[in-house]
């Protein structure tokens, strides 16, 4: 079992030349994307419309939820260069009946820094993965931290793919709901039984009236299906879907973006998937502040990963 950041810190204590630090950089727990509009291609004809999906329906049969967590801290400085410690983890929890249990989990812990920082560790972190930052630019503490954050993002995506693929191999026909985009993996983007539920709306697919329709979807309505413009690995179909009424709160309240494989049958399944997701509003994920968009199944994965890490 990988060590935790706290345990790694203890190993660093006797290393000469390290000046201990304890900084948790902003956004160290998740990815940060710049807000932008990237026009998408409508798959369903006509202007963007709000479509009622019908009454909630319980997801038929077993369904699994996949999520990952990440965390990194500045643990020490060697001169002005930071040494960062990171933990990433991903897990799949499958629901059979009404009970959920962990069926796949992957964790990694590693240290990140410039080569000279890693060299200064000597053998203190023997057996621990060391990730060197690119050195094409002169050392700058904040830039190093930003580069480390990208590395942690990438590592988290990787462990999520590992557990997702592992589950998929074991349970090829079962539904798997992923927290975030399916575009992390080409295989996922082609999988007819995977659904991505993204809470982030940094990248919006429309502008003008279409954007008004998209962001003002009433509760229980979805937008027309579209194909996002730039996806890293593979094209997917997507649509916006409002889980909770937003009036009096915020445009993004209860709004999620659903992603499925870019296949004809996905079009027919869109309303059914929405009805299933509507049923997933309960139990709500409170007290998590994102409970209006965070499915309880996804939250249970996060809670599991936090619990095994001993985090309060």
């Amino acid at each position: 079992m990988p060590l935790t950041i706290r345990e790694l810190r203890r190993l660093l204590a006797p290393v000469p030349g390290l000046v201990a630090a304890s900084v948790v950089p902003a956004a160290s727990h998740g990815r940060e994307v710049e807000a932008c509009i990237t026009p998408a291609t409508l798959i369903e004809p006509g202007p963007v419309t709000a479509r009622a999906v019908g009454a909630p329906e319980i997801w038929p049969g077993p369904v699994a939820f996949l999520d990952g967590t990440q965390r990194f801290e500045v643990a020490a400085y060697v001169g002005t260069s930071p040494l960062m410690l990171a933990e990433v983890a991903g897990a799949v929890r499958e629901r059979t009946g009404r009970d959920t249990r962990t069926v796949a989990v992957e964790r990694r812990a590693f240290a990140i820094g410039r080569r000279e920082v890693l060299a200064a560790l000597g053998g203190a972190l023997a057996g621990i993965e060391l990730v060197a930052l690119p050195e094409d630019t002169p050392g700058h503490p904040l830039r190093d931290i930003e580069a480390a954050r990208h590395e942690v993002d990438r590592a988290r995506g990787e462990v999520e793919r590992i557990v997702g693929d592992r589950y998929r191999r074991e349970a090829p026909g079962r539904w798997l709901v992923v927290d975030g985009s399916l575009a992390e993996s080409p295989a996922w983007a082609l999988d007819a039984r995977m659904v991505g539920v993204s809470k982030s709306h940094s990248t919006l697919p429309f502008d003008g009236d279409d954007l008004v329709t998209y962001l003002q979807l009433p509760a229980g309505h979805r937008s027309s299906i579209f194909q996002p413009a730039s996806r890293r690995h593979a094209p997917v179909y997507a649509w916006g879907f409002r889980l909770w009424p937003w009036a009096g709160r915020d445009l993004f309240y209860g709004l999620v973006r659903i992603e499925v494989a870019a296949r004809r049958e996905s079009l027919a399944a869109a309303d059914a998937i929405c009805r299933w997701l509507l049923a997933e509003r309960a139990p709500i994920s409170a007290p998590d502040g994102r409970w209006d968009r965070l499915l309880y199944g996804i939250r249970s994965v996060e809670e599991y990963l936090r619990a095994v890490r001993g985090e309060r």
């Binding site: 009404r98 509003r281 409170a286």
Partner: protein, 654 residues
């Protein structure tokens, strides 16, 4: 998919799987005497379950005392929002994360030293061997001379283990006495004591000596059929087998009951003809009563002067020839009737003395009258138990049998007479045990309704003082008190406090709310308040925590069953009652023969002959009875004595 892709919690390699894991937080830390553990939602763990914690080189045994469950729901409002305010709406597709958290009290640490907080470790349900170790039963159930007495079966999660109490701590000399509490009808107090007595009789080690029991039946037919076997169900038979006991009725058993006021019909519900062979009258005379006069007198204002006069009667008058030059003749007082004559003689002397005749041999006439009234009152209120004519039929003092059960039915007696019976029998037991004359080395005395005999409040009585004395010193003599009551709080604290072993059946909630039960967890109290029949909470000196056990129903007829199967005989007229009692000794006797014999005879003479026959239990009861009754003396009319003729005198000169 049955198996996880990569199980993050692989099961233990061998043995039964663990049922939980110890958790300790800042708010709920483990201590040397308590710990917490969580289990799966569906778990066999319940209140009272014994568990074992394994961690590194330490094993800890505990008993579950409380349970908690909660989900990750922070406020009920979130549940309302999630259901759109409709409680009947669609069920949540995912069950909320939920914890089953149990609190356990430590029973034992291994190694015992150093005493440390319970470590974080896996929790297993206790096996048979674990139960033995956890309850420290290994100290007295193993070895060459085991002293374990089965008290019931501990059961949890499909596992079942016999629980033993230590004879040395139940029957002395280390500790002794047993007290059982519980609400009437549901706590199975009487059944528990019957089962335990049977267990003691079967398993009390021979090297510890001979043992007998004396039970007081104080209400209805409760203890009236202990010699009658009852059919048992499969589950009860299985429990007996699990405990290594044989389900059987008590034997030998002797029943004692006083007569009704008529002096021939027994004052008990055990009057069915088939049960007469071992049912005897309990009959006392003046001597038996006078020795325990304090019992009868302490309720009133009997002072030192009265005590002195009673002592004078007991030491100088009763049972011996008494001669006093102030009295017209010698007295040999053997019965209440003799005593009354004696009193009348004193009063006559004092009356003749006239002025200044208030004192007889330093005893004031008022004191003498008071004692006469009190003693006379006894023979009136206890008619049937106390005879005027001095007949005595008593327990077999000096001849108690090993494993013998002696039941004294006082249910139909006046409370004063109950006190008398109780005080005298227990005092005699004590005296004989002290002198090692009883025939057995240990006697268990079972008293129900202890709150009546040793109440927590009220004036001190002879019986209460005696019970206190037994509870504090009886174990050294082999005199062991098994007592029962509904409410422990209503019994003298020192009496119940001295009971080494305590049993509790279903308890009243109000009673459990009293400070005396504050050491029990709310869950234990809740379980006690709803405990099914046949289950008990056991406290015993070897157990560091109370344990719930289940026991089989006794293999004897309950009072109600007994009365149904052996309905009490209808109260018979004098002659027929005599006939029935004699026929109990010899069923071949013809009723008509007996009736012909006693017809026309004085009832007092018949009673005397009957009691003598019952006491002697001769081979030929009828012949013996005839002999005791004596030849009928025909009434003869005396011829008028010739009168004395008046002396002839001369004519009156006036």
């Amino acid at each position: 998919m049955k198996n996880p892709v990569n199980n993050p919690h692989p099961a233990a390699p061998s043995g039964p799987p663990p049922v939980g894991r110890v958790v300790a937080t800042e708010l709920k830390p483990s201590t040397p005497h308590q710990f917490f553990f969580w289990t799966a939602r569906e778990s066999p763990v319940g209140i009272g379950a014994i568990v074992r914690v394994d961690a590194d080189a330490r094993t800890v045994f505990g008993v579950v005392t409380d349970g908690f469950a909660y989900s990750d729901l922070q406020t009920p409002m979130h549940a309302v929002i999630g259901a759109d305010g409709d409680p009947a709406g669609t069920e949540e597709p995912t069950r909320r994360a939920e914890i089953r958290l149990f609190a356990a009290a430590v029973l034992r640490h291994l190694p015992e030293e150093p005493v440390q907080p319970v470590p974080l470790g896996l929790v297993h349900l206790a096996s048979d061997a674990d139960v033995v170790t956890a309850l420290r039963m290994d100290a007295y159930t193993e070895g060459d001379t085991p002293t374990g007495i089965p008290v019931g079966v501990y059961a949890a999660g499909g596992l079942e283990a016999p629980v033993y109490v230590d004879a040395d701590f139940l029957l002395g000399p280390e500790a002794a006495h047993l007290n059982i509490s519980g609400v009437s009808g549901l706590a199975t107090k009487t059944s528990a004591v019957e089962f335990l007595l049977s267990s003691i009789f079967q398993r009390f080690p021979a090297q510890k000596g001979r043992i007998a029991a004396v039970c007081f039946n104080v209400k209805g037919p409760d203890l009236c059929f202990l010699d009658q076997p009852a059919p048992l169900g499969e589950e009860d038979l299985r429990l007996y087998a699990r405990l290594g006991l044989t389900p059987k009725a008590f034997s030998p058993v002797q029943y004692y009951a006083p007569y009704k006021a008529d002096g021939v019909n027994l004052n008990t519900l055990r009057t069915h003809e088939a049960l007469q062979a071992n049912t005897q009258p309990l009959l006392w005379g003046l001597r038996e009563v006078l020795d325990y006069a304090e019992v009868l007198l302490n309720r009133d204002d009997v002072d030192a002067k009265a005590d002195a006069f009673i002592d004078f009667l007991a030491e100088r008058v009763v049972g011996r020839e008494y001669e006093d030059n102030t009295l017209p003749r010698k007295f040999h007082v053997k019965s209440f009737a003799d005593l009354d004559e004696f009193f009348r003689a004193i009063f006559a002397v004092l009356e003749d003395a006239g002025r200044g005749g208030e004192v007889w041999r330093t005893h004031h006439i008022a004191t003498i009258r008071k004692i006469r009234n009190r003693l006379g009152n006894i023979s009136t209120r206890s008619k049937g138990l106390v005879t005027d004519d001095g007949d005595v039929n008593d327990l077999p003092w000096g001849g108690f049998q090993d494993r013998g059960l002696y039941v004294v039915d006082v249910a139909g007696l006046d409370p004063l007479a109950q006190d008398l019976v109780f005080a005298r029998l227990v005092s005699r037991l004590r005296e004989q045990l002290e002198r090692r004359e009883l025939g057995v080395d240990h006697v268990v005395v079972f008293v129900d309704e202890l709150n009546k005999y040793a109440p927590a409040e009220g004036p001190d009585s002879y019986v209460r003082k005696m019970l206190l004395d037994i509870s504090e010193r009886g174990r050294y003599l082999g005199l062991v008190l098994f007592s029962a009551q509904q409410f422990r709080s209503q019994v003298q604290r020192r009496v119940v406090g001295n009971a080494g072993t305590t049993l509790m059946g279903r308890m009243d909630s109000d009673e459990l709310a009293l400070p005396g039960y504050s050491t029990m967890s709310p869950a234990t109290k809740a379980k006690l308040a709803a405990l099914p029949k046949g289950e008990l909470l056991v406290r015993h000196p070897h157990f560091t925590q109370p344990i719930f056990v289940r026991f089989p129903r006794p293999a004897v007829l309950s009072g109600r069953e007994g009365v149904e199967r052996f309905p009490p005989a209808i109260e018979l007229p004098f002659v027929e009652a005599v006939s029935r009692r004699l026929r109990a000794l010899d069923p071949s006797l013809a009723s008509s023969k007996i009736q012909d014999l006693v017809a026309g005879r004085r009832e007092a003479d018949v009673r005397k002959a009957l009691n003598a026959t019952l006491r002697a239990r001769p081979d030929q009861p009828f012949a013996f009875f005839v002999k005791c009754l004596g030849r009928e003396v025909k009434a003869e009319s005396a011829a008028p004595k010739p009168g004395i003729r008046p002396v002839r005198t001369s004519a009156d000169p006036y």
